[in-house]
C-alpha cells in the first residue's frame, strides 16, 4: 500500500508533509447484479461494496498536522464528529504511528481555509474506514520526518533514535517533537514507512474513552448552536408551512415596530427578522403576516399512492434466474410499508455567518463542509477561497446535515446588516423542513420447493429520493444509474443460494425533500425481507436460523453472514418457540460489507410490545475502538426500535406533521431494552462501516417475535398492535 516519494519539498515550520497512499479498500466480493448498462454496474458495485478513499482537496503537503509548543499534536480532520466517535478513532490511529500518548492528540474539524476539503462528506459510516490507511501513512511519515531532523540536531545516526510519548531519545539525550520542530527550516520527506503490525499498536483496537468525553460531560460550548462572533445579531426566519407553498407578499409593518428589531429581510420565499436578541427576533417574527400561494393541498393518500410498487421509474437492482409467475398458486406474496421519518436531531440546524469586504466566515454544524462552502460562494457570488467554513462538533447528524441551505440564509442576512448573524431553525421548522426518510412500499414474493426450501425470492420496493436529487450527488448520477442507490441499501437479497432471486426498485420524487436518514433504505428494506423470510420459515416448518443458514453462499460474503447468524443464535440461546406472551425474534442483514444479526426477547401484554433484551452479533472488521463500536450498535438498536415502533410523519391539510417531539413519538428511556449484548467479530482485516449496519435487523426481529407470540404478522412500520 505504501507509495514512494523521492522528492524533498519545502515545508514551513511546525507543519508537516502528509502523503497518504490514498488507496481504495475493497471490502467484499460482488453480487450478481445485472444492469442494462455496464457503467451503472460499476458505480453500483462500488456504492455497495467499496469504501471510497479520501478524495477531497488537501492531499498536498503539511495540512493535516500541527505540533503545539506544549508538545501536543493537532490533527485537522477532514471528517467531522457527530457522535460516531471518529475523532477518537483518528486520535488512536495518529497516536500509534506517531509514538505519542493519546492525551497529546487534539482533533479538530479542518476549516476550509486550511485547504483540506473532503469531497465525500461525513456520512455512510465511512470516516474511519476510508482514512484507515492514509491517516496511518501520514502519521508514520511524520514520525520519520521528526526523526530525520532529530538525528541531525542531536548529531547521531537515525538508527540510534527511539520515539515514545512525543519524545525522541538517543542514549541519554532526549528532545521533544515540539523542540525538534521549532528548529526546522525545511522538512525532508522520506519514503512512506512500512505500517506497523496490529500487535504493536497501543491504542488502536483498545476500548479507550472518547477524547471528547470530558468536554461533553462538563457542558463545554463546542456545538454550532454555541458559536458566537463579536457584535453578533440574532435572526428568525419565516418559511412556508404548506408543502409547495410560495410567498406572495409579506406585511412586516407590525414586526418592524417590535423592540430590538434591526432589520427585516424579504427574500424570494422567506422573510428574516434580524434583532438584538433571539427572543426579540422570534417575537417580531410572530407579527409578520405572510400571504402564501398554496397551489395544492397534498394528502397522505396521494403521497402513499405515488410510492407504490409498480409506479415511477423501474430498475432491476439484482437478478438471478427466473422471475416468479404471479399467477402461480404456490407463490406466497406479502406487502410491507414504512412511513415518512424525521431526523429529529436535538441540535437544530443553524449557522453564524459574517460577510464582510467580499469574504464570508460561516460557523456551522455540517456533514458537508465542502458543499456548504460552495453553496455560500455561489449564492453570494464570492470566490471559493473567500468563504471559510468552520465546522464545530455536531449535535447529531444522522444525514440531516448533508443539506445546509440555512448557511446561505444566514450569510444573506449578514450582508444586509454588515454584522455577524446567527440563525437557527425552530423545532417546527425542523419538522416541516426536514430532508425526510422517504416512505417505502414493498412486495415480497417467494416460492418453496417440496423440501421446504426457497426456490424463488423477490423484493419489489418503492421509495422516494435518498441519493437522487441530493446536493452531495452530481445531478447526472440519477440519469446514469437509473436507480437510487441510497434507497437500494439493504434492498438486494443476501440469500444467494436461492436459485431465482431478484430485487426491483421503483423510484418517485416526492413534492418535498426526502434524503439520507441514518442507514438509508436499510431499515425498511430489511424489515420487509427479514419479516418475509421468517414467514417462509414458519410456512416451511423450519427453524428460522437453519432456514437462513441454508440459503447463504460459502463465499466470503455468505460465510461472514453465517458467522454472525450463528453467533447471535448461540449467545442468545435462540428458540423459535413462544412461551406464553414471551418470544424471541431473529433477523439479519448485511450492509456496506458489514453483516449483523440480532435476537430480541419480546413480550406482548394488552397489545403493548416490549423489547426486553437484544443480542447483537456484528462483523465490523478491525474495531479501532471496540467500546465505541459497541456504543454505535447500542445506539443503532435503540434508534431502530424508535424508527420501527414509534416514529411517523404524516401529511394533514397539506402540511407535514407533527411539528414537535412527543406527538412525533420516539423511543425514550422507558422503551430501551434492559439488556443489550453486543458481540463483535473481526471478519476482515480493515475497519468496516459501523454507524449504520446494526440498524438493519432490529425492526424485523421485533416483528418476528410478535408473530410468534400473537400469530399476527405486522407488516407496516411503525409496528403497533390493536
Amino acid at each position: 500500500m505504501s507509495k514512494t516519494d523521492k522528492k524533498s519539498k519545502r515545508i514551513s515550520r511546525r507543519k508537516f508533509l502528509v502523503r497518504g497512499g490514498l488507496g481504495t479498500i475493497g471490502v467484499l466480493a460482488l453480487g450478481t447484479y445485472i444492469f442494462r448498462n455496464p457503467m451503472r454496474r460499476g458505480i453500483l458495485e462500488m456504492a455497495e461494496t467499496m469504501v471510497p478513499p479520501y478524495s477531497g482537496k488537501g492531499t498536498e503537503p503539511n495540512l493535516w498536522f500541527e505540533i503545539t509548543s506544549e508538545n501536543n499534536l493537532v490533527l485537522h480532520s477532514s471528517k467531522v464528529e457527530m457522535g460516531q466517535g471518529t475523532f477518537t478513532g483518528f486520535a488512536q490511529i495518529v497516536a500509534d504511528e506517531l509514538d505519542m500518548d493519546i492525551s497529546q492528540i487534539i482533533v479538530k474539524a479542518a476549516e476550509t481555509s486550511r485547504g483540506i476539503v473532503d469531497g465525500m462528506s461525513t456520512g455512510g459510516s465511512l470516516s474511519v474506514a476510508s482514512l484507515w490507511i492514509p491517516l496511518r501513512e501520514m502519521a508514520a511519515t511524520m514520525r520519520e520526518m521528526i526523526k530525520i531532523k532529530a538525528a541531525g540536531q542531536l548529531g547521531v545516526d537515525i538508527s540510534a533514535l527511539t520515539t515514545a510519548d512525543g519524545v525522541v531519545t538517543a542514549g541519554d539525550k532526549t528532545v521533544t517533537y515540539a523542540e525538534v520542530a521549532s528548529k526546522v527550516e525545511e522538512w525532508e520527506v522520506p519514503k512512506t514507512p512500512e505500517l506497523r503490525p496490529m500487535k504493536d499498536y497501543k491504542f488502536i483496537g483498545k476500548p479507550i474513552p472518547r477524547i471528547d468525553l470530558e468536554a461533553k460531560v462538563m457542558g463545554d460550548p463546542i456545538f454550532g448552536m454555541d458559536a458566537e462572533m463579536e457584535d453578533m445579531l440574532h435572526a428568525a426566519v419565516i418559511r412556508p408551512e404548506h408543502i409547495g407553498a410560495t410567498m406572495k407578499s409579506a406585511d412586516t409593518s407590525e414586526a418592524e415596530k417590535m423592540p430590538g428589531v434591526i432589520k427585516i429581510v424579504k427574500k424570494d420565499n422567506w422573510v428574516g427578522v434580524i434583532a438584538n436578541s433571539y427572543p426579540e427576533a422570534l417575537a417580531a417574527k410572530r407579527k409578520i403576516r405572510v400571504d402564501w400561494d398554496v397551489p395544492r393541498i397534498w394528502t397522505e393518500e396521494e403521497i402513499r399512492e405515488m410510492l407504490t410498487v409498480g409506479k415511477g421509474d423501474k430498475m432491476i437492482t439484482q437478478k438471478q434466474g427466473e422471475a416468479l409467475v404471479v399467477e402461480d398458486e404456490n407463490v406466497i406474496s406479502m406487502e410491507f410499508s414504512s412511513p415518512l421519518g424525521a431526523h429529529a436531531q436535538i441540535e437544530p440546524n443553524g449557522a453564524v455567518a459574517h460577510v464582510k469586504d467580499g469574504k464570508a466566515t460561516i460557523i456551522i454544524s455540517t456533514q458537508v463542509i465542502g458543499v456548504t462552502q460552495k453553496q455560500v460562494a455561489k449564492a453570494l457570488g464570492l470566490k471559493l477561497e473567500d468563504v471559510n467554513v468552520i465546522c464545530t462538533y455536531l449535535g447529531g447528524g444522522f444525514g440531516r446535515r448533508l443539506n445546509t441551505s440555512h448557511a446561505v440564509q444566514a450569510a444573506e442576512m449578514s450582508i444586509e446588516v454588515g454584522k455577524p448573524v446567527k440563525y437557527f431553525f425552530t423545532r417546527k421548522e425542523e419538522f416541516q423542513h426536514d430532508t425526510f426518510r422517504p416512505p417505502t412500499h414493498h412486495i415480497m414474493r417467494g416460492k418453496l420447493d417440496e423440501q421446504g426450501n426457497l426456490e424463488s425470492l423477490e423484493h419489489h420496493y418503492a421509495s422516494g429520493d435518498v441519493a437522487i436529487n441530493s446536493v452531495i450527488m452530481p445531478p447526472i448520477m440519477s440519469t446514469v444509474l437509473g436507480t437510487d442507490f441510497g434507497a437500494m441499501r439493504g434492498g438486494n437479497i443476501m440469500y444467494r443460494k436461492v436459485a431465482n432471486h431478484r430485487a426491483i426498485q421503483w423510484h418517485t420524487t416526492l413534492p418535498f425533500a426526502t434524503s439520507w436518514w441514518r442507514s438509508l433504505g436499510l431499515l425498511a428494506n430489511t424489515f420487509a425481507i427479514e419479516s418475509f423470510i421468517d414467514e417462509m420459515a414458519l410456512t416451511a416448518g423450519k427453524n428460522p436460523v437453519d432456514f437462513r443458514l441454508a440459503m447463504l453462499d460459502d463465499d466470503s460474503y455468505g460465510a461472514r453472514t453465517k458467522k454472525v447468524i450463528e453467533l447471535a443464535a448461540e449467545k442468545a440461546n435462540y428458540s423459535d418457540k413462544a412461551e406464553g406472551n414471551r418470544a424471541m425474534g431473529f433477523a439479519a442483514s448485511i450492509d456496506a460489507g458489514a453483516p449483523c444479526a440480532q435476537v430480541v426477547e419480546v413480550t406482548v401484554e394488552n397489545n403493548e410490545i416490549k423489547v426486553h433484551k437484544v443480542v447483537c452479533a456484528f462483523d465490523c472488521g478491525i474495531a479501532v475502538n471496540p467500546d465505541q463500536v459497541i456504543a454505535q450498535c447500542e445506539g443503532s438498536i435503540i434508534m431502530g426500535i424508535s424508527g420501527s415502533m414509534h416514529e411517523k410523519m404524516t401529511i394533514k391539510d397539506g402540511q407535514l406533521t407533527p411539528t414537535i417531539y412527543g406527538p412525533y413519538d420516539m423511543a425514550l428511556m422507558r422503551n430501551t431494552p434492559k439488556e443489550i449484548e453486543v458481540h463483535l467479530i473481526q471478519g476482515a482485516d480493515v475497519p468496516l462501516p459501523v454507524g449504520e449496519p446494526p440498524l438493519g435487523p432490529i425492526g424485523a426481529a421485533i416483528g418476528n417475535a410478535v408473530r410468534r407470540i400473537t400469530g399476527k404478522r405486522l407488516t407496516d412500520l411503525p409496528m403497533i398492535l390493536g
Binding site: G83, V217, P221, M225, Y278, E634, I637, A667, M669
Partner: protein, 155 residues
C-alpha cells in the same frame, strides 16, 4: 425589568423582559452555553437546569419566576475540585455520543437523585423523560445507577 437571582452560587442581575425564557438569559446574556436549546416547547429536556434544586425546562420558564432563587446549570453542577457524582458516572460509563442533549439528562438525573437517592429502573423510566437522538439511553441507565452508588459511598 431588573431581575436578580443566584446562578451557580453567585449573585446576578439582568435587565430584560420578565417573560424572556430563562434559557436565553442563561445562554446569551450570562454566556453559559451548557444549557441547550432543543425544541422551545419543554418537549425534549435539552434545556433542563435546576431552580432551587428542582429540574426545570428553562426554554418554557419565564426569567421573572427565577427572581430571588438559586439557579444551577451544568457548569455549576460540580463544586470546586470535586466532580459531581452524576458527571463522574457519565464519564465512567462513557455515555455521550454527539453530547448535545447530555447536560439536560445529567441535570434531570441530579434532581432525581436528590429526591430518590437509589432509583429503581421504574423510577428512572418514569422520571428521566428527556430525548436523546443518538439513543444513549442504555448507558445512561447504567450511569444513573452508578451515580447513586457513588453518592452512597461518599456521603
Amino acid at each position: 425589568m431588573k431581575i436578580s437571582f443566584n446562578i451557580n452560587g453567585a449573585p446576578q442581575s439582568v435587565d430584560v423582559d420578565g417573560q424572556t425564557p430563562l434559557l436565553w438569559v442563561v445562554r446569551d446574556i450570562l454566556d453559559l452555553k451548557g444549557t441547550k436549546f432543543g425544541c422551545g416547547k419543554a418537549a425534549c429536556g435539552a434545556c433542563t437546569l435546576h431552580v432551587n434544586g428542582e429540574a426545570v425546562r428553562s426554554c418554557s420558564y419565564a426569567v421573572k419566576y427565577a427572581a430571588g432563587k438559586e439557579v444551577t446549570t451544568i457548569e455549576g453542577l460540580s463544586s470546586g475540585e470535586n466532580m459531581h457524582p452524576v458527571q463522574q458516572a457519565w464519564i465512567e460509563e462513557i455515555v455521550p455520543q454527539c453530547g448535545y442533549c447530555q447536560p439536560g439528562f445529567m441535570m434531570a438525573t441530579a434532581a432525581l437523585l436528590n429526591k430518590i437517592p437509589n432509583p429503581t429502573d421504574e423510577d428512572i423510566d418514569n422520571n428521566i423523560v428527556n430525548i436523546c437522538r443518538c439513543a444513549t439511553y442504555y448507558r445512561m441507565r447504567k450511569a444513573i445507577h452508578r451515580a447513586a452508588e457513588i453518592n452512597n459511598t461518599t456521603s
